[in-house]
Symmetry: D2
Subunit: 166 residues, 4 copies
């Protein structure tokens, strides 16, 4: 099995151009980082997400390259959704007491400009904290400052040791 993979890797590297090499590097680094920091999901590592959080806002930055792009060479709507969901989810979980979790129950996204440039940056803030749900707002920007998406999300609050499989 490991031999098959070594063969796949050699094929991958063989005709790799500069962009390809960068992509392979990001994927392998992401994989290795996920072994060291398994609290964050693998997809966060593969997309090389960097997070920063302050009291009221969370931020997720991810580099734009062929891993994030759709076939029009702009950031894939699903990737934009992924970084927005991640930014909102991180803040939602941070706002809850120890042991409680927040899981997305609804997400609505308006795509307003093409995602191009070096990286995208998602930010999230709280709209409403209720007893059962949190409503969050998410925004995604390019590095030239232009907003590419605006959205909102509802997160369910799951108590500690809740019977439910979340």
């Amino acid at each position: 099995m490991k031999e098959t993979i070594r063969e796949l890797f050699n094929q991958s590297l063989e005709n790799a151009d500069t962009e390809d090499v960068k992509v392979l590097e990001q994927l392998l680094k992401g994989f290795l980082n996920s072994k060291k920091n398994s609290e964050r999901p693998l997809i966060s590592h593969l997309l090389n997400m960097e997070k920063t959080v302050d009291a009221e806002t969370s931020y997720i930055t991810t580099p734009i390259n062929s891993i994030t792009d759709n076939s029009f060479r702009i950031v894939h709507g699903g990737i934009t959704a992924t970084v927005m969901d991640t930014a909102m989810g991180i803040l939602a979980n941070q706002l809850l007491p120890e042991g409680y979790s927040a899981v997305t129950s609804n997400m609505n996204i308006h795509y307003i400009a093409p995602g191009i440039g070096e990286k995208v940056k998602a930010s999230a803030k709280l709209i409403h904290k209720g007893s059962n749900t949190l409503v969050m707002e998410g925004s995604v920007f390019r590095d030239d400052g232009k907003q590419i998406a605006h959205g909102t999300g509802t997160f369910f609050i799951v108590p500690p040791n809740d019977g439910r499989k979340i």
Copy 2:
């Protein structure tokens, strides 16, 4: 540069367990497939998406593993959004005349059950075809048949050689 990557690869493989090996295999196969079929975005290949389309419905299937999962070990909401957006976008583009493209302008998703099992399958169908937009419906199911997400999307119709950068 290539040496750095070879080193990263060796580290990745060194302590890899069975699940890790499967993940590395899927990522490398995905990368290689994207070189052969560059019409589809890399993320589709990395997620090992398989598509089928008939006259009125498109389907996207993707295996569930640590590439798709969040830190609760259920499918990440952003990945669910990615497969739903892909299924809706494929059908939207297929419904347009040659040269026209459809780009997502709005997506709304209700997450209704945890994504677990072997794979998820997204399907999309048309709600409305207008002169400027298409409204699509997307559903995502587990392999036990349970629906995990339901959503709708608006797609802008971009004419051929449109001045706009989509």
Copy 3:
């Protein structure tokens, strides 16, 4: 006080044309019906909503006239939202055990064609019934059969004698 109102009524009737007379009739009949059937909200009576429900679908029909129209003389988006919310809410409540209530927590609507003609008809069906929420689908049609809106809604399930003010 009642004299002021009588004066307002006389002014209303004085220069009323045929459409005006129909509107005044619908408003007054709606008001009177709300005194007889106070389980339904006044706005349902003012809009002369008729409901039918079967096991899996609920329907709300409302006549189109200047009460429903916006300044472009097509059905106001808020009225379309009102009939869709009503149709979804009626079915949601019917699907719950005695004493439980369903209250709207999220509604998303795509407006796809202008609301014109004699009446609009909203229908609702269930997408998902969970332990805390119901996800519903709503559609609104003209009497020529054309769909004017498509939407989804999340409804919270409120247990009997719940402490919360819903």
Copy 4:
């Protein structure tokens, strides 16, 4: 015909309590105001909406009473949608050049607290102005300052003398 209506009016007034009298007064004043100011739709007058607009925000205030309430005696979700859509639509239209109109193509609302008190106030601001659409944000508050709803909307820009029936 007018005699029938006079009879309906007399019946309405006969057993009217103080709240009923206020409702009838608001409906009749709304009807009469719509004859004087026919640019705004009748429903705005019936709900006694007051609007204020400044450069970047529009506001709609409407009194809470049995016209706005649902059967739980809190503001009906459809009425909340109506005031939010109105606030967003007014600002959208104001932001466009003479002759252009904005029509709602999508609206998404999170209901976060029950609408109670004397009145609700909706505000709207611009998220994004594109060449074909505007994306707006709407918020609805009670008079004690608590937010009851948060939403977003997409509005299509309709050029002057556009062939389409909007």
